[in-house]
């Protein structure tokens, strides 16, 4: 069983936000209006966080950090869900069951990465954009929680194909929208358990780290530190 993971090279990210746009379009993530930003209710399964470190060699420079769901191996959001609407799948993806979610937002509160989003209203798209919704991904109703799924619907298709041909999924066969569009190739995606894969090699790099490591959540999204 593969263990899907991601490595994001912070030295390569230039903050263009193409990943955010690709993700929104791939996963039918609701459009955020300026008022949503003002009310702090914008959606971005993959948000590019902009910040200026106050200390250290990077002080004073604007830095970027794309943040998807970390797909923890020990996910704090999964244990607290009262209805098992968020689960750790066998292939390591933390999935959401939108039809079961009661919208209590316990999982959003126990996610130390603030990577989960709640539908405050019924999501809406302009008429001309409705044509562009991805038919493989359900549109989430108001009152439920959602987040990055590592483009799980793509995995579904790829593994069906592999099963039909009675073989394993090949390296590079399954990738995620954000990784595909990144112009600087800052995002790598693949099987962390396959030593041949790019992600496995990069995750072992001495620049590699995970966010809030000391919490023991074991994220499957690794970052590569910038060297100045």
């Amino acid at each position: 069983m593969p263990k899907w993971g991601m490595v994001i090279d912070l030295a390569r990210c230039n903050g263009c936000s193409a990943c955010t746009v690709a993700c929104k379009s791939e996963n039918n993530v609701p459009i955020s209006e300026p008022v949503d930003v003002e009310e702090r209710r914008f959606f971005a399964w993959l948000e590019v966080i902009e910040h200026e470190p106050e200390h250290g060699s990077g002080a004073g420079r604007t830095r970027f950090m794309p943040r998807p769901c970390m797909h923890c191996d020990n996910p704090p959001c999964v244990v607290v869900c009262p209805v098992s609407a968020t689960k750790l799948d066998r292939d390591g993806i933390v999935s959401q069951i939108y039809d079961r979610c009661i919208g209590c937002r316990y999982c959003t509160n126990n996610c130390p990465y603030t990577a989960k989003y709640f539908n405050w209203r019924t999501p809406e798209w302009p008429e001309e954009m409705k044509q562009g919704l991805n038919p493989d991904v359900s549109v989430r109703p108001k009152g439920t929680v959602e987040k990055c799924t590592f483009c799980h619907h793509r995995l579904q298709r790829v593994s069906d194909q592999a099963n039909a041909e009675d073989r394993e999924i090949r390296e590079g066969e399954f990738s995620v929208a954000c990784a595909e569009v990144c112009p600087t190739q800052a995002i790598a995606f693949g099987d962390l358990d396959n030593p041949e894969s790019t992600v496995a090699r990069l995750a072992k790099s001495n620049r590699s780290f995970t966010e809030l490591e000391d919490l023991g959540t074991e994220p499957k999204v690794h970052y590569l530190r910038e060297d100045y």
Binding site: R40, P76, I102, C104, P112
Partner: protein, 470 residues
């Protein structure tokens, strides 16, 4: 058959008891019954105006909730990362208030505190009436209340919220039974005295005639329920605290949250009881039954809880400060010197400084004094719940996601509606059942006085008293 054997077994014991048990003055009994049944017999204009006013507030809350269901939780002030706000604050607060009744009444019964008699009923009603509002606030908070049944269909037992569902259900059932049992003899009095409402009181009285056997059974059941209710009540608020304690969030993830919340619950519970009692004695002219001494004793309990509350609050915050972990410090600073400092310090003044000043001196531990302390404590404890829920969410571990929360009219209306509806339910209860236990006061006069005397004599060395005084 069994009746006979029971009587035969009991009567010899009866005969060995001292013959001269005190009896209640029949004239006084009549007056007491009139006093305590008067709220049920009469419906004054004050009652009607109060009900109308309360219903108006409830109506606004109903409108607010309909708005929320139609538009989604977007109409509240909640946002990312402040996913919980007033509703969850209310949930913790109301479950806390519900500790007034059952727990306090059970402790007083088990301790054989004779002064409990006029107050246990009014305390137990608070529990049963308010616990529903705790549960309701969780439902208000749900994005999909229509799917609430999923908690039973797909229950996930690793989630502290599911532990809450279990413990609150047990608590609601056991405290309802615990309210009902001591109510039976009084329901029988209502059945006999209010012939027009016999259809209602008759079945509820379960054929109570006050025989020795019935009384014996009832007292046994009440003691058993008091024993059961104690650990259940403690478990309920412990589990409520674990909703926060079991997370990894700064200043929620704390080992003392269990006892801290239980202490806070009893604290706010006693305060709510004192306020309710003061309103009852004023509205129904029950000054002769709920006397200043009762307020004085409850005030002493409240004083002990004030000190305990301060101890826990101090320990909790000092530990966080000394540990100095950045994520914890961010929340602590927000509470103590930051944006939530005005609320935090108001809480300290309301929960500790004002009650301490009033309650520590016997002179100010009067009805008015304890009521003032209780009002500030109720406000302070609501603020305590609020400053536990919100500052942590405003300062999540990912420092880029700092947030802010300002509740909207929807949440404030729901808060007001909960209080109004609770008051309404409580008021209606007092119009249907005697709010002071008639039979327990009678029992206090006829048995309590002698029993207490016998017990006190038992504590002393044998033969220490002149003969004939026993």
């Amino acid at each position: 058959m069994t009746d006979l054997t029971m009587d035969a077994a009991v009567s010899p014991v009866e005969n060995t008891q001292p013959a001269a048990r005190s009896k209640m003055d029949p004239a006084f009994y009549q007056k007491m019954e009139d006093d305590l049944l008067r709220p049920i017999r009469t419906r004054g204009s004050g009652f009607k105006i109060t009900v109308a006013a309360l219903l108006a507030v409830v109506a606004v809350a109903v409108y607010a909730y309909i708005t929320q269901v139609r538009a989604g939780l977007g109409v509240t002030g909640l946002n990312r990362p402040v996913y919980w706000g007033i509703y969850i604050t209310n949930f913790v607060f109301f479950i806390g208030i519900s500790h007034a009744g059952t727990l306090i009444s059970a402790i007083l019964r088990l301790c054989k505190a004779e002064w409990r008699r006029p107050i246990t009923r009014s305390a137990e009603v608070i529990t049963v009436m308010v616990i529903g509002f705790g549960v309701a606030n969780v439902l208000f908070d749900l994005g999909r209340p229509d799917r609430a049944m999923n908690v039973l269909l797909h229950g996930h037992f690793r989630s502290p919220l599911l532990w809450d569902v279990c413990s609150i259900t047990v608590y609601l059932v056991s405290s309802t039974v615990y309210l009902y049992l001591p109510l039976i003899p009084d329901i029988a009095i209502c059945r006999d005295r209010l012939p027009n409402a016999r259809w209602f009181y008759g079945p509820l009285a379960l054929g109570w005639t006050g025989t020795h056997e019935q009384k014996h059974l009832l007292e046994k059941l009440i003691s058993i329920m008091a024993l059961i209710v104690l650990p259940v009540a403690i478990s309920v608020h412990t589990v409520v605290s674990w909703v926060f304690g079991m997370t990894v969030q700064p200043l929620w993830h704390s080992t003392i949250f269990g006892p801290y919340f239980v202490v806070g619950a009893i604290f706010s519970g006693i305060a709510a009881l004192i306020i309710a009692m003061a309103l009852l004695r004023k509205a129904y002219g029950l000054q002769a039954y709920m006397k200043p001494i009762h307020f004085n004793y409850l005030g002493q309990l409240l004083l002990a809880m004030t000190a305990l509350w301060f101890y826990f609050t101090f320990a909790e915050h000092l530990t966080a400060y000394y540990g100095g972990e950045p994520a914890h410090m961010a929340v602590l600073q927000e509470k103590v010197v930051g944006r939530y400092a005005p609320l935090f310090w108001t809480m300290v003044i309301c929960c500790f400084i004002i009650p301490m000043i009033i309650l520590i001196r016997g002179k100010t531990r009067t009805v008015t004094g304890t009521v003032i302390a209780s009002i500030t404590i109720t406000i302070g404890m609501w603020l305590e719940r609020y400053t536990i829920v919100v500052p942590t969410l405003v300062n999540p571990r990912m420092e880029y996601d700092r947030g802010i929360y300002s509740p909207t009219w929807v949440e404030w209306s729901m808060l007001a509606g909960c209080f109004a509806m609770f008051a309404l339910f409580y008021l209606l209860f007092t119009k249907v059942f005697p709010i002071i236990s008639i039979w327990e006061i009678q029992e206090g006069v006829e048995e309590g006085v002698d029993e207490t005397k016998d017990r006190l004599v038992d504590y002393l060395p044998e033969g220490s008293r002149l003969s004939g005084e026993n």
